[in-house]
Amino acid sequence: MVETDRARARPAGPGNYFRSVGVIVWKDLAAELRSKELLGAMLVFALLVLLVFNFALELDLPLRQAVAPGVLWVTFAFAGTLGLNRSLALERERGCWEGLLLAPVDRSAIYLGKALGSFLFMAIMEALVLPIYSALYNVNLFQPGLLLVVLLGSIGYVSLGTLLAAMAIQARTRDVLLPILLFPVVLPVLISAVNASAGFLSGAPMDQIWPWLNLLIACDVIFVAVAYMAFEYVVEE
């Protein structure tokens, strides 16, 4: 059989690196749009958490506004683990994970692709939760400052989460292991995010909020760097 058009494999280069990252993200999004399993699960889960909090904390209005940041981030943290687990579990069926490892791409490109994909899933979930939360708790969450915090917090969360999820799914206790591994080490992100959110929501002056934003950004940078470098040790054999 004769090949009519032989495709050439490009030599490794920065163009191919980012192309690989991009195509992994595209693939995760496309697969998820078809099955809609993950987003549905994340959304339902987040809503359930919100409802439970509402009934567990029968609060009057000012107290509701005071606990809003905490409740919000707890919701994100729990629903986020679903996204992380799913993103990596998707690769496990039919051995697709090996398909990725067999490709002549840097392992860090796989990390970035998966992390970015998880980040997008988390962002979609947050975009759906925020308006619902605003309505349920009678708090306006659509302030630029708060949205910035949500963005930064999600970056920190997902960067460590992707690394740890890659470990967790290779273990026998895969479903329960990720939250156990992630929560103790992602605390600085959560603490900073909650406090920065609280600052924005209560209209505190910027010089009170800046330290928390700085800490959040510092965490993001450190976590992404550490996870980026450690990833290859987690996926090699």
């Binding site: 690394l163 273990a171 103790p184 605390l187 600085p188 603490i191 406090n195 550490v226 040790y233 987690v234």
Partner: protein, 236 residues
């Protein structure tokens, strides 16, 4: 011949640790003065802080051996890491418990949200997560790699956690416990107290080293046993 020599060093270390521990106990109850405000219960402080210190030392050792394992791939570093984590976890728990016992009569509460205490608790949780991670991975090489990575991640994030909690406490003073964000129970240390304190630190460090030596030895033997068993089963 080598084993004879090792044995002697180990016994010597054990002896030294035991003597130091007895001496430290003597100092804590006999030599150190009674604290003016808190009374006798303050004496817990010496072992409380020393335990926390060992917990943190183990943490750093775990991370360092993690880095060593990833770069050299020698199984020995992995064994030292597990040993350090196990010991660190126990001492971390002792620190938390002793802190609790100390807090009760002084502030009438079982728990204070003191940054160092909270960080120690987070550290213990990271330890526990580490052990659960290892438990869930069957293949020894992968288990070692994952442990190494997680220990390194832990040693980077826990200090940041401490800083963020401490910063939180400076803007939200703790209602229960000391108003000073950085001291669980502030009291002035007299020279005798300081000496007792430093001696306790030394004692606990030697105790840590002794336990580490024994635990690593146990791990090495378990390894050797497993190797013999596999060889026998494979028919050699």
């Amino acid at each position: 011949m080598l084993r004879e020599r090792e044995s002697a060093t180990r016994l010597a270390l054990t002896g030294v640790a035991a003597l130091l521990l007895l001496a430290a106990l003597g100092m804590v109850f006999g030599y150190a003065p009674r604290e003016a405000v808190m009374g006798e219960v303050q004496r817990i402080f010496y072992f409380h802080v020393s335990s926390a210190w060992v917990g943190m030392l183990s943490f750093v050792v775990a991370a360092v051996t993690g880095g060593l394992y990833l770069s050299r791939r020698e199984r020995y570093w992995d064994l030292v890491q597990v040993a350090s984590v196990e010991i660190g976890m126990v001492f971390g728990l002792i620190a938390i418990l002793s802190g609790s016992i100390w807090a009760r009569p002084v502030w009438n509460t079982w728990w204070t949200w003191d940054p160092r205490l909270v960080t120690t608790s987070v550290m213990v949780l990271v330890y526990a997560a580490y052990l659960l991670l290892r438990q869930g991975v069957e293949e020894p090489e992968r288990r070692a790699r994952f442990g190494a990575v997680y220990a390194i991640v832990g040693v980077i994030t826990v200090p940041i956690t401490f800083l963020s909690i401490r910063f939180l406490r400076t803007i939200h003073p703790v209602v229960i416990g000391s108003g000073d964000a950085s001291a669980l129970g502030g009291f002035a240390m007299t020279p005798k107290m300081l000496e007792t304190f430093l001696f306790s630190l030394l004692t606990f460090t030697v105790l840590y080293a002794t336990l580490l030596v024994y635990r690593v030895r146990l791990a090495l033997r378990a390894d050797a046993l497993e190797a013999r068993r596999s060889a026998l089963l494979a028919g050699y």
